[in-house]
């Protein structure tokens, strides 16, 4: 029974991001009925939905790491774009050093080296946060300030171009596969994370540390190690995101690669119904949140909003969403529902969340 209830809680947490996604898709559908149309060009699927999945791939991966960091460390990592830029710069240098004969193994080795670089950067942040008790945002501020310059120095002052066929295939499509490669990579990454969360105690440990570090310590969990681990995972996530981003772009632009993506990643975590102050978390919520942000960006473009005003519209949207999701409004909605139940002599069906959403909008 309690298991069922907790599953219901998890589902209701996902209700908000999902319903927002649906609303956005509906708006798109009203704008033009061919929104879901997928065309096949040269044996590859193209269309709005594949484009969204393609565009959001880095953001999704980063928001997974950010969810874990937020849950355990009770703070956010603002250096993810920078560590992605550094690790991908190392990847690009490795691939370029191989010269003409770039094989799949070169790419794979470069990818592993960039993951190792991501681990080092994550360890740097994690040491500061876990062992020196620095607040996460302050600790990652250091890398945020210096990271782009480090990437710039690794690049050697020009933006190197990845002009080999294999990275081109990773950035776009592999011949014979109907789906763009970044989408596949993202799906593989999500599956990996899901397997890790299912088979290990990571979720339990992270949530325990996030809810109360000293209680977790008394129960035999070392909060420092868990927080350190989440930062390591974050480092790998940013390395993977940097890998995808640089292969998509085809060249390494140390100034603009993954710039200010931490804002979107944090937003994705919050949209997914996760608390930024640690505790229970839902990775699927964050993933949906990340896709929602991408859909929102594309919807605003599709609605032909004045490009100067896009950010303002985005802000209004975020505020409305957060107001609906806020605990005060939720409590208010619950009271309204209870009253309605008393008046309606207790119908067995609980239309819990739709009414809350409606009444919240009314309050707006």
């Amino acid at each position: 029974m309690s298991k069922l209830k907790s599953r219901f809680d998890r589902l209701s947490q996902l209700f908000l991001p999902l319903s927002v996604l649906v609303v956005l898709l509906m708006i798109n559908l009203i704008k033009g009925a061919d929104y879901f149309k997928i065309t096949m060009i040269n044996g590859v699927f193209y269309g709005n939905i594949p484009n969204i999945l393609f565009g959001a791939s880095e953001l999704v991966i980063l928001s997974i790491g950010m969810t874990l960091v937020s849950a355990a460390a009770r703070g956010q990592d603002i250096s993810i774009g920078e560590s992605g830029a550094i690790s991908s710069a190392i990847f690009v240098q490795y691939v370029l050093s191989a010269g003409e004969g770039v094989t799949i193994w070169t790419i794979l080795a470069g990818f592993l080296i960039s993951c190792a670089a991501g681990l080092v950067l994550g360890a740097f942040n994690g040491t500061l946060v876990s062992f020196f008790n620095v607040q996460p945002m302050v600790a990652t501020l250091i890398l945020f300030l210096g990271g782009r310059s480090i990437a710039f120095i690794i690049d050697g002052k020009v933006s190197p171009i990845l002009a080999n066929p294999i990275s081109n295939q990773i950035g776009t499509v592999i011949p014979g596969v109907p789906i763009q490669t970044p989408i596949i990579l993202t799906a593989v990454f999500i599956a990996l994370v899901a397997v890790v969360l299912k088979t290990t105690n990571l979720r339990l440990y992270v949530e325990a540390v996030g809810i109360n570090p000293s209680a977790a310590r008394l129960n035999g969990i070392n909060p420092k190690k868990v927080i350190f681990l989440t930062f390591l995972i974050m480092g790998v996530c940013s390395a993977v995101a940097g890998f995808i981003a640089v292969n998509k772009a085809g060249r390494h632009d140390s100034v603009n690669l993954l710039k200010f993506i931490m804002m979107d990643a944090i937003l994705a975590v919050a949209l997914g119904g996760n608390s930024l102050a640690g505790g229970k978390f839902s990775i699927s919520g964050s993933i949906i949140g990340a896709y929602t942000i991408e859909v929102l960006n594309r919807t605003l473009l599709r609605l032909e909003v004045n490009p100067e005003a896009i950010k303002a519209f985005k802000a209004v949207f975020i505020i409305i969403l957060m107001v609906i999701a806020s605990p005060v409004v939720r409590d208010f909605a619950r009271k309204v529902i209870d009253k309605a139940k008393v008046i309606g002599s207790g119908s067995p069906i609980r239309p819990a969340v739709p009414i809350s959403a409606r009444s919240a909008k009314k309050e707006e």
Binding site: L128, Q135, M137, L143, L145, I153, I318
Partner: protein, 360 residues
């Protein structure tokens, strides 16, 4: 009342911040005596960065209350552009621009404060939305840089106060007095005002209590929501004012104005010994931290460090300071070091010492 025998964390961190600043300025004096020995260099920190000082004060208030406001840079930029438009269109005079600046800041502050305090939404997300809103409004208003050429404004901008008894003699033997801008007075007045407010008013003390522990503050009968609300309103107004001062300094509204001020303000506050967790920090640490930040930047610039290394060096220095603070605080918690009040501040009854030990 329990007699104080130990320094509070806020004071300790403030002292560390002060020592770091003196150290950095000392290094600067030794390495580059020609430029740093002039008083004008010191005053130029204030002349050119008055807006940053003011923005940092606002951020400091919010940080002591345990929150964060990352919209201050964008609000500052929006205010410069709005005021520049108002002045250029001839619809308003300088006072109009001043009140417009305060009004925009107040509007953002009210929005943030209401949503964060009364609807209990995470401050980072709401102020992020505020940042997007301000940036969006800024680009909607005007995209190109806009110079303000209204004569009264230019006169105010050019107006400088000379200090006749301070100054340097240049190579030709001509005495050049030090110059300060009117915006410096705004900075000083605000620092004094805020320091008094945080130290002696009910709001300031409530804010420390709320930032330290929200639950216990509530149990003490403090109106937690109102206190947080007011802190964001104050921060918003300060950000608006900083935008006005920014316009006074540069004289043009531009999209890039005030960009990254939120990051600079956080860094300055951290160097000044104000903790992001809230409840700890001396307000005077904000200007001291800003001065440290500016000294470091000036030092790196004067040392002729390659431009792409500058960011790395400032990141490294920030790293050193954060580590220093963290190590000192950790040692203090383990009672490895004791920082006693100086003897002339010690209370008269020494037998009370045993139960004071536990006081953090």
């Amino acid at each position: 009342m329990r007699p104080k025998t130990r320094l509070s964390n806020s004071t300790l961190l403030f002292i560390i911040a002060g020592i770091i600043f003196i150290l950095m300025y000392g290094i600067a004096l030794i390495s580059f005596p020609v430029s740093f020995r002039q008083f004008q260099t010191f005053f130029d920190f204030f002349n050119l960065n008055a807006a940053l000082f003011i923005a940092t004060l606002g951020m400091c208030v919010v940080m002591i209350g345990g929150g964060i406001d990352i919209s201050i840079g964008a609000v500052c930029g929006l205010v410069t552009m709005a005021c520049a438009l108002l002045l250029q269109s001839g619809a308003g005079n300088i006072w109009g621009a001043f009140f417009l600046a305060l009004g925009i800041g107040l509007a953002f502050g009210l929005m943030h404060g209401f949503l964060i305090a009364y609807l209990d939404i995470q401050p980072f997300i709401i102020t992020l939305a505020g940042m997007f809103l301000a940036q969006g409004l800024l680009t909607t208003l005007h995209k190109e840089p806009l110079n303000v050429t209204v004569p009264t404004f230019v006169a105010l901008r050019r107006y400088t106060i000379e200090i006749p008894w301070l100054g340097t003699v240049n190579r030709l033997g001509v005495f050049i007095p030090c110059e300060i801008k009117p915006s410096v007075f705004v900075v000083v007045a605000l620092v004094v005002l805020y320091a008094v407010m945080m130290k002696w008013t009910r709001f300031g003390r409530n804010l420390y209590a709320v930032g330290g522990n929200r639950q216990s503050a509530r149990m003490l009968g403090i109106n937690v929501k109102q206190t947080i609300f007011l802190s964001y309103v104050l921060c918003g107004m300060t950000a608006g004012l900083s935008g006005f001062v920014f316009l006074l300094t540069t004289g043009a509204g531009n999209i890039g104005n005030g960009s990254l001020y939120e990051i600079k303000a956080i860094a300055a506050n951290v160097m000044g010994g104000i903790m992001l967790n809230g409840g700890v920090g001396n307000l005077l640490g904000a200007p001291v931290g800003t001065l440290t930040l500016l000294t470091i930047n000036e030092l790196i610039r004067a040392a002729g460090v390659q431009s792409n290394l500058q960011a790395i060096v400032s990141g490294l220095l920030l790293y050193v300071f954060i580590m220093l603070q963290s190590i000192i605080m950790a040692l203090r918690e383990r009672r490895k070091i004791k920082v006693a009040l100086p003897s002339w501040l010690q209370p008269h009854q020494p037998q009370d010492k045993s139960n004071v030990e536990s006081h953090g």
